[in-house]
Symmetry: C2
Subunit: 268 residues, 2 copies
């Protein structure tokens, strides 16, 4: 920032604070991507010893209802929002990720409708995220994978054969129905710009490629989902996303929602 | 309506149209309750032969992305929204269910934050709705319950012992943290009035009482969740809800998300 562009008042506004588990991308990653893509300042609170007690205690959420689970987002005024899609929907218009520009001349109802369409695609993608989690934890979230391996194998078989193609076909349908592309022909899920929907679907393809590499390759090689993989490539090549993925803020997949178990990624 | 209150122009605005399966409450019920509670006009399109082809075809969704699954809500201008929480979040401020009055003097950010808090509680309740579905379909949504009975028994055991108390305790915590009550002492989840959150949690208690009657009674008798059951009673006694439940528009539970299988409601 050049000297004459410096604010004349000292900025005392706190940045957004993301409360989430340490060490895994998890559901927090969907929020991080919104901040990272748009270059929005944020800090994280990741102490596993205090996390749940903080966001679940109404005396610490600034008047907001206590949260059920992380991620939770503390706004600059101290109000704490929770539930990934609710956080993303709140941030979308503020970060330019709701499908329209702040300076748009669209009327309020039309803006709300586009934002609700973005929200709908985000929710469908997060349903796939939840189903991915359930492939290794189909019976009980608090038990180990090793205690539910047989059910996990069966759940994963259905996931590979039915659910992944069904969701992929849906996203391809959404992309094919939207004529708007960027200068290089890169597609958007909703409207003529990157939205939270693109970022969430991008991360899902990243995660599924980690967890089910053989199946994702098979689906990609089928040629049935060209726009979906082009969307993934478009977002991955955005300058801010490249910089983020090259930084130490970017956490690798490990034992979170997306896990690699060779026995769950069979070729059938 | 008295003669002199009649509009001078014939109203040609279509009502909201809910696209959903026939015969079951299902996820459509959360949308219906928002309309019924507020006395908002709506119609339904329930032909199972055309449902998916209509909402999944971008040429029929008024410029909105095609839907993954019902429910979908066709707005008066033809734009089709999908995903239950996205529909509820769009309707909430329009139906007075977002936690504040349309005539409020609250600033836009504060209104958005309260609405996002309502959205967060709705999403947590709908997570419980999804987990309830998975008790009878833990391995594959397209297979019969009878093909996954063993896994369903195990999933349901965890659901009864861990998940139901965890969610109930959360809702109790949310209610206990909100000092606002109605004149009769009835609690609200967010703010000082009925929101979509109250309606969704109300329906969950209705559904869980159908699917797990013994377990719900045990949890109620424990005395650990007095505000949650009081919330259910408050909503059930609202005049518009009573009228709805007495009408033939109100569908009984059967073989949808909430199903009664004696063997899944054990006393352990």
């Amino acid at each position: 920032m050049s000297d004459d562009a410096r604010p004349t008042k000292i900025q005392k506004v706190a940045p957004y604070k993301l409360h989430y588990w340490p060490a895994i991308p998890g559901r927090g990653e969907f929020i991080r991507l919104a901040f990272e893509y748009t270059g929005t300042a944020y800090v994280e609170a990741n102490d596993p010893k205090t996390l749940l007690a903080t966001i679940g205690d109404a005396s610490k959420t600034g008047g907001a209802p206590p949260a059920f689970a992380p991620p939770a987002l503390e706004l600059p005024n101290g109000y704490v929002l929770s539930q990934t899609p609710a956080i993303l929907n709140y941030l979308a218009p503020r970060l330019g990720l709701a499908g329209w520009d702040k300076a748009t001349s669209l009327d309020a109802d039309t803006k709300d409708q586009i934002q609700a369409a973005v929200n709908g695609v985000v929710l469908t993608a997060l349903d796939l995220n939840n189903e991915t989690h359930d492939t290794h934890h189909p019976l009980a979230v608090m038990k180990y994978y090793e205690e539910q391996k047989e059910a996990a194998a069966e759940k994963s078989k259905d996931f590979r054969a039915s659910r992944m193609p069904k969701f992929f076909a849906h996203f391809e349908n959404v992309l094919a129905s939207n004529p708007k592309k960027d200068a290089a022909g890169g597609p958007f899920l909703v409207s003529d710009r990157t939205t939270t929907a693109d970022l969430v679907v991008f991360h899902l393809i990243e995660g599924l490629t980690f967890a089910f590499p053989k199946r994702v390759k098979k689906l990609q090689d089928s040629g049935d989902y060209p726009l979906l993989f082009k969307l993934h490539e478009r977002v991955k090549n955005e300058e801010t996303i490249k910089a983020y993925q090259a930084s130490d803020r970017h956490l690798p997949f490990s034992q979170g929602i997306f896990r690699y178990y060779e026995e769950l990624d069979l070729e059938d």
